[in-house]
């Protein structure tokens, strides 16, 4: 940041900044770094599940518990919400406020469906006596999948907040920046879910 001083006639110093500040870019890089740190949280939870995932304590195994049809529907919900968020971003670039809101709304519906199915699954596991206290496998399972679900929950709160903001103030630069951050967050959660359904559910059922 070099500043050039120019003498005016009234002897008042005037400063020109030769390089302008890049607030948007640094926000995006900073948010990316946050996502990477979040990635480390999930890495540790995946490692825990990798170590404890076979310790059933004479309790039920993944093959007894998991309904892969339900997991497949859940995966579809999250993938669909990812693509509809992408469409919302495309509408945002076209400056179409209403269309952006509609696609964000559809994304929210798919996200809610995902959360609903996950809560339904958790509820049934706990009803069957396969709660987080049953075995080391179930403790690590509930921690990993629960942490992901919690992220999606906060993503939903963020999504609804932004929908209200866009409705009120339109697609101004601030809201665009926020929508881009949420876009990264949302797609990142889908990336984590790929690891969850492959490593936890499919490999678990495979035994």
């Amino acid at each position: 940041m070099s500043a050039t001083q120019v003498q005016n006639t009234d002897e008042k110093p005037v400063f020109y900044l030769k390089e302008e500040h890049h607030p948007e870019n640094s926000t995006m890089l900073g948010f990316w770094l946050y996502l990477m740190s979040d990635c480390l949280i999930f890495a540790v939870l995946f490692a825990t599940h990798g170590v404890l995932g076979r310790n059933y304590a004479a309790g039920p195994s993944p093959a007894d518990l998991f309904d892969l049809n339900l997991v497949a529907i859940n995966t579809a919900m999250l993938l669909l919400s990812s693509i509809t968020y992408g469409f919302a971003m495309l509408q945002m670039e076209r400056n179409a406020k209403m269309e952006t809101l509609v696609w964000l709304g559809i994304t929210g519906v798919f996200g809610a469906a995902f959360l609903g199915l996950e809560l339904y699954e958790f509820y049934h596991l706990i009803l069957e006596g396969a709660g987080p206290t049953r075995s080391a496998f179930l403790s690590s399972f509930f921690t990993l999948v629960g942490t992901h679900g919690l992220h999606v929950t906060f993503g939903m709160i963020w999504l609804i907040t932004l929908m209200v903001q866009v409705r009120r103030y339109g697609l101004n630069p601030e809201n665009r920046r926020r929508l881009m951050c949420l876009s990264m967050f949302w797609h990142f959660l889908d990336v984590i879910w790929i690891g969850v359904f492959s490593f936890v559910y499919l490999l678990g059922v495979l035994g």
Binding site: M28, M36, L68, I83, V191, I194, F197, L202, L206
Partner: protein, 132 residues
Amino acid sequence: MSAHPTHESAHDTHHAHSHGAGAGHGSFKGYMTGFVLSIILTAIPFWLVMGEVLDSKLFTAVLVMGLAVVQIVVHMVYFLHMNTRSEGGWTLMALIFTLIIVGIAIAGSLWVMHHLNTNMMPMTHEMMKNMP
């Protein structure tokens, strides 16, 4: 100073096209390509496991994890718009660093804990009874 405004406007137009860090602008085609690839890469592992297609469990497991890695790359490229240019390469550097740490954490944990398991002294029923 007369060149300054043109420099500014040139910078602005450049700026509008470079929102790096995974927030780069996708296209409809890009999103659809990523979506179709994701569906295929999700359907295959579910089919492999639910249909019990292959006899070897190990081979199925390796395939499932391999397809997961491919799908993660697809998501990174088509949905998160990762490339080597965004933010002057800093996002990619952060990603590579994170992947190294993730690799060490997961592979290291599995390795150490597996060895702890296998090197544990085998315990008989009588020894178990005499445990404090």
